[in-house]
Amino acid sequence: MIHRFLPLVVTIAVLVVGFLLCAMQFPNFASLRVVGNLLTDNAFLGITAIGMTFVILSGGIDLSVGAVIGFTTVLLAVLIEQGGWDPPAAFAAALLAAALFGAAMGAIIHVFRMPPFIVTLAGMFVARGMAFVLTTDSLPINHPLYGDLNDVAWRFDGGGKLSLPAMILLSVLALAVVLAHWTRFGANLYALGGNRQSAELMGVPVARTTVAVYTLSGLLAGLAGIVFSLYTGAGYSLAATGVELDTITAVVIGGTQLTGGYGYVLGTFAGVLIQGLIQTYITFDGTLSSWWTKIAIGALLFVFILLQKGLLAAWTGRGGEPAEA
């Protein structure tokens, strides 16, 4: 069954090779510090991308995630700084709002049979607009708990540490893998992405699953928003612009089919790290314009999509009759 995991294996191999190349060029690269920072810096992206993976696996897309992150940071800032809320209460409110927002989009997609692309595009404008309604400025969050949370870390020798955002990312990843492969919900997602009509005729609860997957994506975008606000210490209505595209890129580089039904959460994680690695490389190099990141990621995306097309053709092609007893 090497075939089935091949896209995943290729992605992970690219990540490892890329890391080794960087390590060869920059002596300080191969350190726990760099790895720790890689996870911390990309935590919000990774959390969002995991939600996006589920949506894409189910045959949909969620363009609203970047705006939901932006909205969440603003909501937190307003609640904590202007409303005087405790951060935990504000976190809960933000998660609830983001999840409900996702659920609403999922319900619209299902009930009105609207293309997810359109519904979540509208959702993107709505969420971004709501953030602007709350405030157009960048609002710093000065609550002491923010400082404390930012100090939470699991430290290693030599200055490396696993920060709270990194821990959240890894926990979400672990839960997501279980959800995808060891629950009925996960199987239903793959089924829905494979063929909606067949899934329905096999008894998959299409309505519930559709609403649930967009709720999950919203919830994870909200969580990413919390992480982002911890990371930047501010709420800003333009935060995380374009993140929906970065996450879709990570998902595709990670080997998930944009049309749904095929892919792995772990691949997305590798896809996120590959993007982060390129960014880190450019930071280390110091002379390259940061736009090279975009160019490198664009090229990589293109190569990966070609590769996947080839693999999928080989995989689903008439591989010969089965052995029949």
Binding site: M1, R4, V178, H181, W182, T183, R184, G186, A187, N188, Y190, A191, G193, G194, N195, Q197, S198, A199, E200, L201, M202, G203, V204, P205, G261, Y262, W315, T316, G319, G320, E321, P322, A323, E324, A325
Partner: protein, 522 residues
């Protein structure tokens, strides 16, 4: 667990006055249907009679307009497949292909996976999948994606899934369309065992032989209405056909027995062939073969499933590229690099897996019919609308495609009528060589005869045909020559008087060493 067989005071399933209308079509009109414990009940009727609609209305895929359904005396109204499954009604729907992206095991257990500690127990799922499939004589790698397997294997998996779920009622809507004789025999064994346990089975098919082989009772629908219910042993076949069609099947259509004149046309061989293949083959697909097809000739391809029939026609049509051998058309060498090339040469191909490779569901019947013709002309030269309508109307009449009008999205037609439209698509291109893979599958008795007659008429006009079919009587009826395949190899070629069912069967069964007259190609 000993099966509990309730006192048959109330029938297992009692449907009364069931009605369902779609825009412009009364698909079901006050239909009654009774299923008893431990019986196999055939639900029959022409294409578009309302069989699939009855099943979907019963299991809650469609909301019914009127009527009641009682399961063991208790009224039920499932609102969806999931709920019907919980009532122990397992169904294989006509169009279900399961999910090619999931593994075989996942397909079998989707929605009812064995759980342990709140999580899916994948090991148990694999073990149980193997056990379930072994009951069907199938031993496949259950972790491989279903899409990798043949249509027949996929169909068996779908049936196995439904059987495993149906503690009370099992519904099969044309489950045998892609199965060969041996697989059908295995299925019937399973059905009889279920029947012995008191389970009621609804069986929809167009194969009347199968009806008489396993069914206890028959209910016939016509135009959405109940025609009647009979015991199988009290209903002669001709009466059954008359019930289905509402008229006698004309004598001419009965002539399915071999017509020697059709096979004995000596000067055809003297004429130059339309296409000629020499040493044509592809590694791991089909061994190199020689094949000539003359204008006006029907060549049949016979053999068991997986013997290389479908692979042969895919090569001929350029869907798979040959890696050895030569092909000539009208004596000129050609390279079949793809279907476009083949279409340009005047070939047409009506594939076996029509759900996947054929219809475009959202497009209208008209658009589906003119699709291949338009593709050959090039999209820059649209066929005038008037002409499109003429063509569509002609084939709707010719093949008796049941649709209110040509503008209806084809996915709203019944399964058999979609297939007729697909056949029309290729006939509309007036190909010089038409390749048909299982042309009469899922098509009712009336239309079946119609299509065979049409095939004969087209050949008289000079079209050549290459036909794959599992129905040997049918092949014998219209083929001038029959190529027999086994193990991806052309093992025999029968012609003229040799074309009989017995000869084909014995060629298939012959020892590899003593293969037929035309010789095996090493």
């Amino acid at each position: 667990m000993t099966p509990h067989i309730p006192e048959p005071s109330a029938p297992l399933l009692a449907i009364r006055g069931l009605s369902k209308a779609f825009l412009g079509v009364q698909a079901l009109d006050g239909v009654d249907f009774t299923l008893r414990h431990g019986e196999i009940h055939a639900l029959l009727g022409e294409n578009g009679a309302g069989k699939s609609t009855l099943i979907k209305t019963l299991t809650g895929v469609y909301r019914r307009d009127a009527g009641t359904v009682a399961l063991e005396g208790r009224e039920i109204a499932p609102r969806g497949v999931e709920e019907a499954q919980r009532l122990h009604i397992g169904t294989v729907y006509q169009e279900v292909n399961l999910l090619p992206n999931l593994s075989v095991a996942e397909n079998l257990f989707l929605g009812r996976q064995p759980m342990r500690f709140g999580l899916v127990d994948r090991g148990a799922m694999r073990r149980r999948a193997r056990a379930v499939l072994s009951g069907f004589g199938l031993s496949v790698e259950v972790t491989a994606p279903l899409g990798r397997f043949s249509v027949a294997t996929q169909q068996i998996v779908a049936i196995a899934r439904a059987v495993d779920m149906s503690a009370k009622v099992l519904i099969l809507d044309e489950p045998t369309a892609s199965l060969d004789a041996q697989e059908v025999a295995v299925l019937f064994g399973v059905l009889r065992a279920l029947k012995g346990r008191g389970i009621g089975i609804v069986f929809v098919t167009h194969f009347l032989d199968q009806v008489y082989a396993v069914c206890d009772r028959i209910t016939v629908l016509r135009n959405g209405r109940l025609v009647g219910e009979r015991r199988t042993d009290e209903l002669p076949r001709l009466d059954l056909v008359a019930m289905m069609l509402g008229r006698e099947l004309e004598a001419a259509a009965h002539r399915i027995a071999a017509d020697p004149a059709a096979h004995d046309d000596a000067d055809t061989d003297a004429r130059p062939p339309l296409v000629r293949f020499r040493g044509f083959g592809r590694a791991r697909s089909v061994e190199p073969f020689d094949l000539d097809i003359h204008p006006g000739e029907v060549v049949g391809l016979a053999g068991l499933l997986g013997s290389g029939r479908t692979e042969t026609v895919r090569l001929v049509f350029g869907m798979d590229r040959a890696d050895q051998g030569k092909a000539t058309v009208d004596g000129r060498p050609v390279r079949l690099r793809g279907p476009r090339e083949a279409i340009r040469l005047g070939f047409g191909f009506c594939p076996e897996d029509r759900k996947k490779e054929g219809i475009v569901g959202e497009l209208s019947v008209r658009e589906n019919i003119i699709l291949a013709l338009q593709a050959r002309q090039g999209w820059l030269k649209p066929i005038p609308r008037r002409r499109q309508e003429e063509i569509a109307d002609r084939f709707i009449r010719l093949l008796d495609i049941r649709t209110p009008d040509a503008e209806r999205p084809i996915q709203l037609l019944s399964g058999g009528n979609q297939q007729k439209a697909l056949l029309a698509r290729w006939l509309a291109t007036e190909p010089r060589l038409l390749i048909l893979d299982e042309p009469t599958r899922g098509i009712d008795v009336g239309a079946h005869a119609e299509i065979i007659r049409l095939i004969e008429r087209l050949c008289a006009d000079g079209m050549a045909l290459l036909v794959v079919s599992s129905e040997l009587e049918e092949i014998v009826a219209y083929s001038r020559r029959v190529v027999v395949l086994r193990d991806r190899r052309h093992i025999a070629e029968l012609r003229g008087g040799e074309v009989t069912v017995d000869r084909i069967v014995s060629a298939i069964a012959s020892e590899p060493a003593s293969s037929g007259s035309e010789g095996a190609l090493a």
